[in-house]
C-alpha cells in the first residue's frame, strides 16, 4: 500500500514538473503562437544550471557552488530566461515552421554541449548527487515522496496562478491580438517582436524551472533526461489538454503522464526482459495515438480557449 502511495507521489512529481514546462509552452504557443520545438533544451539549461549551483565541488568540473536548492531554482529560471531571450532575439523574426527549425537546432546544440562539454556537464555520465529537497528524511520513502510532491505541486500551482494572471490581463490580450493579426496589432501601436520576445522569455524561464525541479527530484542528471521525445511529450500534453488554456496545460500533463506510466507498467508486464527496451517505443506510439484522437475528435483539446480575455471585464466564463 505505502509502495503505491510513494509511486503515486513520484508520478505526481514528474507529471507536474512536465506540467510546469507545459504551462511555459502554453504561453509561447497557446497564447502567442510561437512554435518552439526546443522545449527540452530550455529544460536542460535549467537543470544543469541548478545542478551546477547546488552540487558540491568536484575536481575537473565547473560549478559545484554548494548553494541551497532555492538558489539553484532561481538561477535555473534566470539562465533559462536569458538563453530564451538570446535565442528569441535571434529567431523571433521567423514565423511558425522556420522558428520550429531554428528552435530544433538550438535543442540539438544544447544536447551536443551537454554530451561533450564534460567539464561543465559531466558529459554522457551526467551529474550525480544533486541535492534533493527534504533529504533529511530520505530514509523514509513515503513521507519523503509526499513532501517532494507537495513542494512541486505548490510550485506548479504558483506558476499556474502567475500565468493565469498574465493570460487574463491586458498584456495577455495584446499577445492574443498579435497572434491573430500582427499587422493590425502594429497599427494599434503594439510591437509584435517585443511581445513575442517577452512571451518566449517567460515561457523559457518556466521550462528552466521544470528542468531544475526534475533534476532535484531525481537527484541525477544526464543528457538522456532531455531528449527530443521530452519536447514531443510536452507538446502532446498541451494539445491534448487544450492549447491556450492553462488548466488544460496541467490537465494534459497529468493525462499524458498517466498514459506514459500505465504503458510503462503494461510493457513491463507483457514483454520479456530482453524486449523491454524495444517495447518502450510502443509507449511513444500510444501518446501519438492519443494525440491523433484528440486532434480528430476534440481539436481544441480537453479544455479549450476562452473568448473573454481580461479578467477585469467580468462575465468571463
Amino acid at each position: 500500500m505505502s509502495g503505491w502511495f510513494a509511486y503515486a507521489c513520484t508520478f505526481g512529481v514528474l507529471a507536474l514538473v512536465q506540467g510546469i514546462a507545459c504551462l511555459g509552452l502554453n504561453l509561447q504557443w497557446g497564447q502567442t503562437g510561437l512554435f518552439n520545438v526546443g522545449v527540452a533544451a530550455f529544460m536542460s539549461i535549467g537543470a544543469y544550471t541548478s545542478a551546477l549551483v547546488t552540487t558540491a565541488a568536484i575536481d575537473g568540473r565547473l560549478g559545484g557552488l554548494g548553494m541551497p536548492i532555492v538558489v539553484g531554482l532561481v538561477a535555473a529560471m534566470a539562465v533559462a530566461a536569458l538563453a530564451s531571450a538570446a535565442v528569441g532575439a535571434l529567431t523571433l523574426r521567423l514565423r511558425t515552421d522556420y522558428l520550429a527549425i531554428a528552435t530544433f537546432g538550438v535543442a540539438v546544440v544544447v544536447d551536443l554541449v551537454a554530451r561533450n562539454a564534460v567539464s561543465l556537464t559531466g558529459g554522457t555520465l551526467g551529474i550525480s548527487f544533486i541535492p534533493r529537497p527534504f533529504a533529511s528524511f530520505a530514509d523514509r520513502p513515503v513521507p519523503f515522496a509526499f513532501a517532494t510532491f507537495v513542494l512541486v505541486a505548490l510550485l506548479a500551482f504558483g506558476a499556474y496562478l502567475v500565468l493565469e494572471r498574465l493570460a487574463t490581463s491586458p498584456w495577455g490580450r495584446v499577445l492574443r491580438a498579435i497572434r491573430e493579426d500582427e499587422r493590425a496589432a502594429a497599427s494599434l501601436g503594439k510591437s509584435g517582436a517585443w511581445y513575442r520576445l517577452q512571451a518566449f522569455t517567460v515561457g523559457g524561464a518556466l521550462m528552466g524551472l521544470a528542468g531544475a525541479l526534475e533534476a532535484h527530484a531525481i537527484g541525477f542528471l544526464s543528457p538522456d533526461n532531455f531528449t527530443a521525445s521530452v519536447t514531443f511529450q510536452v507538446w502532446a500534453m498541451l494539445v491534448v489538454g487544450g492549447s491556450g488554456n492553462n488548466r488544460g496545460a496541467l490537465a494534459g500533463a497529468v493525462l499524458v503522464s498517466a498514459l506514459w506510466s500505465l504503458t510503462g507498467l503494461a510493457t513491463a508486464a507483457w514483454f520479456p526482459p530482453d524486449e523491454q527496451a524495444r517495447a518502450a517505443a510502443l509507449r511513444i506510439v500510444a501518446i501519438g495515438v492519443l494525440l491523433t484522437l484528440t486532434i480528430l475528435w476534440r481539436p481544441r483539446g480537453l479544455l479549450g480557449e476562452r473568448t473573454a480575455v481580461s479578467r477585469h471585464l467580468g462575465g468571463a466564463d
Binding site: P170, W171, A185, G189, H312
Partner: protein, 238 residues
C-alpha cells in the same frame, strides 16, 4: 514604382478624399504614411515631426491611426476588447504591473472599458460589445476598426474605403460620425470609391492615377475634370 512624387498635407478638422482608379497607388501611399513601407525618397511629417524612419507600431503614439481596406478585426476577441487594444500607454499592457501593481492595472482597465463602450455606442455597435468580432458584417467590421483607432484619440486617421461593401444605411452613419469627429478637430484622409460620401464629407479631394497626383480641388471640381474621367475609364481610342 507604385507611388511617386506625391505631396499632400492635411489640417486638423479637415476631411480629405483620396480617390482614383484601382492600382493608382492609394493604399500604397497609406502604407507609407502608416509606416508599413519606408519611402525610397521624401518625408512623412506628423505634427511637424519626421516619422518616415519609424516602424508602424510607433505611429499611433505619434497620433496617427489607420484602418485597412479589408478589415482586420481580432475575430476571436469581443468587440469591446478589440477596441480596448487601441488604448495608449495602458499600464496593464506591460508585463510587470500585472504582477506587482494589480490595482493600478485594474483601474486603468476600468477607465479603458468605459471609454471603449462609449466609442462603441457612438458608432452604433454598443449592443454587440460582448460578442466576438467574428459575428460582425463587413460594414460593422469597418466601424469596429474605426472604433479601435478612435480609442487612441488620434490626431489623424487614414481610412481605407470605409464605405466599401457597407450597407447604405450604415454608410450614412459612418459619414455622420466622421463629420462629428472632424468638427472636434480630427484630420481624416479617406480613400473611397463611394463618390457620394466624398462629395458630402470632403472640402477637398485628391485624385491619384498611376502613382501620381492627377489633380486636387473640391470634389465637384475634380469630378468635372476630364482627366479624372479619362483616368477611370481609360484613354479614348485615338
Amino acid at each position: 514604382m507604385a507611388v511617386e512624387d506625391v505631396s499632400l498635407a492635411i489640417q486638423p478638422g479637415e476631411i480629405v478624399g483620396l480617390i482614383g482608379p484601382n492600382g493608382a497607388g492609394k493604399s500604397t501611399l497609406f502604407d507609407v504614411l502608416a509606416g508599413e513601407r519606408g519611402p525610397s525618397a521624401g518625408e512623412v511629417l506628423l505634427r511637424g515631426q519626421r516619422v518616415d524612419r519609424e516602424p508602424a507600431e510607433l505611429r499611433l503614439a505619434r497620433g496617427l491611426g489607420r484602418t485597412f481596406q479589408i478589415p482586420r478585426p481580432f475575430a476571436a476577441l469581443s468587440l469591446v476588447e478589440n477596441v480596448m487594444l487601441g488604448a495608449r500607454a495602458h499600464p496593464g499592457e506591460r508585463l510587470w504591473p500585472n504582477l506587482l501593481a494589480g490595482r493600478r492595472v485594474a483601474s486603468a482597465e476600468r477607465i479603458a472599458l468605459e471609454r471603449a463602450l462609449g466609442i462603441l455606442d457612438f458608432l452604433d455597435l454598443g449592443p454587440l460589445a460582448r460578442e466576438p468580432a467574428r459575428v460582425l458584417s463587413g460594414g460593422q467590421r469597418k466601424l469596429l476598426e474605426l472604433a479601435r483607432v478612435l480609442m487612441a484619440s488620434p490626431a489623424v486617421v487614414l481610412l481605407d474605403e470605409p464605405a466599401a461593401g457597407v450597407h447604405p444605411a450604415l454608410v450614412g452613419t459612418i459619414g455622420q460620425r466622421l463629420a462629428t469627429l472632424a468638427a472636434d478637430g480630427l484630420a481624416v484622409l479617406i480613400i473611397e470609391h463611394h463618390l457620394g460620401l466624398i462629395r458630402d464629407l470632403c472640402a477637398r479631394a485628391v485624385v491619384m492615377a498611376e502613382g501620381r497626383v492627377l489633380c486636387t480641388g473640391t470634389p465637384a471640381e475634380v469630378l468635372a475634370d476630364p482627366r479624372v474621367a479619362e483616368a477611370y475609364v481609360g484613354r479614348p481610342a485615338a
